[in-house]
C-alpha cells in the first residue's frame, strides 16, 4: 500500500532531494507540495519548488503558504542555501501553474478529501503552515495518519547551540504541532547529520547521466561547498529533508525511540530547543517517535534508484 503524503517545504537543497525521492519512489505518492518561508523568503522557495517540479516531472498541486512565522521576526539561511535558496543548478522555467489556494487551505482540502488516516504530512521547513492548518480546521488532527517533520534535535542545535533552524524559525508553531494529539516522528539533526552525500554517492548519481541527475549533482555540489565552509562537513553535506520521505518509502531506513518532546518558548539561550525526554523525567506521556540511527546505504540506494527511474520516465517523456 503506497504511503500518500503532502510535502510542506522551503526548497532548499535538501528539500529538492526530498521532492525528487517522493516523485521517484513507487512506494510513496506525492499528493501536493506546499511552501513556507524558511531557508529563503516565500517567493524564492515557491519558485524553487516549481522549478524542481519541472525538472523532476512532478505534476501535483503546488500552493504557497505563510510568509513568515506566527509571532517572532523572520529568519532565513542564505549562507547555506544561497541568495535564490537553491543556488548551484540552473533552475528550469516552471511548467506548473501555482495553485491559487493558500497552502493551509490546500492541506486541509486534501486531508479532508482523502480517507481518514491515509495522508501523512511531511513538513521539512518551519511549521507555520501546519500550525495554521490545525487551528483553521481542527478536524485534520484526527484525520492525518502521521506528521513526519524534519526539525529539532535531542543533543544540540545548528542555528543556535541548542536550537535547530526549522524549530528556531517558528517555535510557537512547532510547540503547537508537538502538543497536538496526532502521531509525530521527529527527524532531528542527530539523525540527519548521519545522512551525508559523500563523494561516492555523488559519483553514482552522476553516473545516471540524465538532465535530472546532473541537476541533482549541481545541487549536492553547491550544498556540499556551503556546508563544508560553514559547518566543517568535509565528507559531504547532510541531506536532512530526504530522510523524512525515505522513512515513508522504507521504515527500516532509520530506528526510532519514543519520547516526550516540547519546545522551549521562554529561554534566554534555549528558545526553539526541542526538549526531548526519553526517561520520563517530566512525568509526561510520550508524544513523539524520535529518529535515532540511520541505515545510510539503504537511504542512498533508494535515492539513486529513484533518480534513475525518474530520469527514465522524464527523459522518455521529453525526447
Amino acid at each position: 500500500m503506497t504511503e500518500r503524503l503532502i510535502l510542506d517545504c522551503d526548497p532548499g537543497h535538501d528539500d529538492a532531494l526530498a521532492m525528487i525521492l517522493a516523485a521517484g519512489d513507487p512506494r510513496v505518492e506525492l499528493l501536493a507540495v506546499t511552501t513556507c518561508a524558511g531557508n529563503q523568503t516565500l517567493p524564492k522557495v515557491t519558485r524553487n519548488a516549481l522549478a524542481v517540479c519541472a525538472v523532476a516531472g512532478i505534476d501535483v498541486p503546488v500552493a504557497a503558504g505563510s510568509v513568515g512565522p506566527l509571532v517572532r521576526p523572520q529568519i532565513v539561511a542564505p549562507e547555506i542555501h544561497g541568495e535564490s535558496g537553491l543556488d548551484g543548478p540552473v533552475l528550469p522555467e516552471p511548467t506548473l501553474e501555482l495553485d491559487p489556494r493558500h497552502a493551509v487551505d490546500l492541506i486541509i482540502d486534501v486531508v479532508m478529501a482523502e480517507e481518514p488516516g491515509t495522508v501523512t504530512l511531511v513538513p521539512t521547513g518551519p511549521l507555520t503552515n501546519i500550525a495554521l492548518a490545525m487551528r483553521k480546521e481542527p478536524a485534520i488532527v484526527d484525520r492525518v495518519k502521521r506528521v513526519v517533520l524534519m526539525g529539532g534535535s535531542y543533543t544540540r542545535g545548528n542555528k543556535t547551540p541548542t536550537a535547530e533552524f526549522n524549530i528556531a524559525a517558528d517555535p510557537e508553531a512547532a510547540q503547537a504541532v508537538f502538543s497536538a494529539p496526532w502521531p509525530v516522528t521527529m527527524v532531528g539533526l542527530d539523525l540527519t547529520h548521519q545522512a551525508t552525500a559523500d563523494a561516492d554517492v555523488v559519483a553514482r548519481i552522476k553516473g545516471i547521466g540524465s538532465p535530472l541527475s546532473s541537476f541533482v549533482v549541481d545541487v549536492l555540489e553547491f550544498f556540499g561547498s556551503t556546508y563544508r565552509e560553514q559547518q566543517g562537513f568535509d565528507a559531504g553535506p547532510p541531506v536532512h529533508d530526504l530522510c523524512c520521505v525515505a522513512w515513508l518509502c522504507d521504515p527500516q531506513v532509520f530506528t526510532t525511540q519514543e519520547a516526550f518532546v516540547a519546545v522551549e518558548l521562554t529561554g534566554t539561550w534555549t528558545n526553539g530547543m526541542t526538549v526531548t525526554d526519553f526517561a520520563g523525567l517530566f512525568g509526561q506521556p510520550n508524544n513523539t517517535d524520535v529518529a535515532i540511527t540511520l541505515d545510510k546505504p539503504r537511504l542512498w540506494d533508494m535515492t539513486v534508484d529513484a533518480i534513475a527511474s525518474l530520469s527514465a520516465r522524464t527523459e522518455g517523456a521529453t525526447r
Partner: protein, 316 residues
C-alpha cells in the same frame, strides 16, 4: 609537592567518596571544606562533612557552613531520594568532637585564599551558591584562585534531574551562570564524563574486610547501587564528584576542550541547562575547559586504590 585545595560540597554519597579521595591523595593539601544545601539540607551537609573528616582523622580541616538555599530561587528541592534523608544513605558515622567554624563559608574561603602562599584550587561538588557568593563578595580574592574544578552540567549528555539539566546546576542556575562568567578559569566535569566514570560492586572488592573507613564507604556504595538499580536497571554507578577530585589530582584523567558555556535561567523547560557551544556558533569567547572524555579505568584504579591505601593507614 601538594597543591592547596578548598572543597565546597553537599555530602551526599558521591561527595563523601570524593572527600575520602581528596584526603587520601598526597597531591592535594585540603585547607578547608565549606558546606552548601543541595543533596540534602545545610544542617545535614555540614554535619556530614564534620563527621566524614572525623572518620578520616582530619578534624584539623575547618568546616564552614554556607548557603542553605539558592541565590534566588525558592523552588529547588533536595535529592533525598538519591542520597537518603540525611544524605549518607543510612550510614551512621560517629559524631565529630567539634562544631562548624564560626566564620561563613565565604569568609573561610577568603581567609584560606588570602593566606595561601600559592594559588588555591577550589573544587565545587554541589550547587554553586557559595562559589557565586565568593565571586560577588570578594572578587579580588576570587581572582587569586588557581582554578575552579566543578562537577556539574553536561555538553551532549544534558541532564539527569530534567531532560536538559544536571542536579547541581538545576538547583541554583543563577549562581552557576555567575560562576561560568566569573572570569576565574573553570574546569567543568559534567555528565558527558561522569556517566562513563562508573564502578560496579566488584570494583570495590579491595575495600571489603577493611577498617572503619572501608565499612562506611561500602555502606554508602550499597545504598547508592540499590537506588541506581531501581531506576536505571544496572549496577554501574557513576562517581560524579570523585571524578572532579580526580581531575584536580591528575588533570590528564579527563580530556577537555575550551568552549563557551552559558546557563539557562529563564526557560520554563530548560532551566538549569548548561548551554555548551560545541560548534562555536555563538561567537562568544570560549573560557571554560569542558571535560568530554575520561580515562575510566585509570580513574577507577585511582579511586579504589587510594581509598584502600587510606583505609589501611586509618586502621580499625
Amino acid at each position: 609537592m601538594s597543591r592547596p585545595v578548598l572543597i565546597d560540597t553537599d555530602p551526599g554519597l558521591d561527595d563523601a567518596l570524593a572527600i575520602m579521595l581528596a584526603v587520601a591523595s598526597p597531591e592535594l593539601d585540603l585547607r578547608g571544606v565549606t558546606s552548601v544545601g543541595g543533596n540534602t539540607g545545610l544542617q545535614h551537609t555540614t554535619e556530614n562533612a564534620l563527621r566524614l573528616l572525623h572518620l578520616l582523622d582530619r578534624d584539623d580541616v575547618p568546616v564552614a557552613a554556607g548557603a542553605d538555599v539558592p541565590l534566588v530561587r525558592r523552588d529547588s528541592r533536595p535529592a533525598t531520594e538519591v542520597h537518603g534523608e540525611e544524605g549518607m544513605g543510612g550510614v551512621r558515622l560517629d559524631p565529630a568532637p567539634r562544631g562548624a567554624d564560626a566564620r561563613s563559608a565565604v569568609q573561610l574561603m577568603t581567609d584560606v585564599i588570602e593566606s595561601s602562599a600559592e594559588p588555591v584550587t577550589l573544587i565545587a561538588l554541589g550547587p554553586l551558591t557559595n562559589v557565586a557568593a565568593l565571586l560577588a563578595a570578594a572578587p579580588r580574592t576570587a581572582a587569586k584562585l588557581e582554578r575552579i574544578v566543578l562537577m556539574g552540567g553536561g555538553a551532549r549528555i544534558l541532564g539527569n534531574t530534567t531532560p536538559t539539566a544536571e542536579f547541581n546546576i538545576w538547583f541554583d542556575p543563577d549562581a552557576a551562570s555567575r560562576v561560568f562568567a566569573g572570569g576565574v578559569p573553570v574546569t567543568m566535569v559534567g555528565l558527558d564524563v561522569t556517566h562513563s566514570a562508573v564502578t560496579t560492586p566488584a570494583d570495590w572488592d579491595p575495600l571489603r574486610g577493611g577498617g572503619r573507613m572501608a565499612r562506611a564507604a561500602l555502606g554508602m556504595m550499597d545504598f547508592y547501587t540499590a537506588r541506581h538499580l531501581e531506576w536505571s536497571g544496572n549496577d554501574r554507578t557513576p562517581q560524579h564528584d570523585s571524578l572532579a577530585v580526580a581531575a584536580a589530582i591528575r588533570p590528564d584523567i579527563v580530556t577537555t576542550r575550551r568552549l563557551h558555556v552559558d546557563v539557562e535561567c529563564a526557560g520554563a523547560l530548560t532551566r538549569g541547562m548548561t548551554v555548551v557551544d560545541l560548534e562555536e556558533l555563538s561567537g562568544e569567547k570560549a573560557e571554560t575547559d569542558v571535560a568530554l572524555q575520561v580515562d575510566a579505568a585509570g580513574f577507577r584504579d585511582l579511586l579504589v586504590g587510594r581509598l584502600a591505601e587510606l583505609d589501611a593507614r586509618l586502621g580499625a
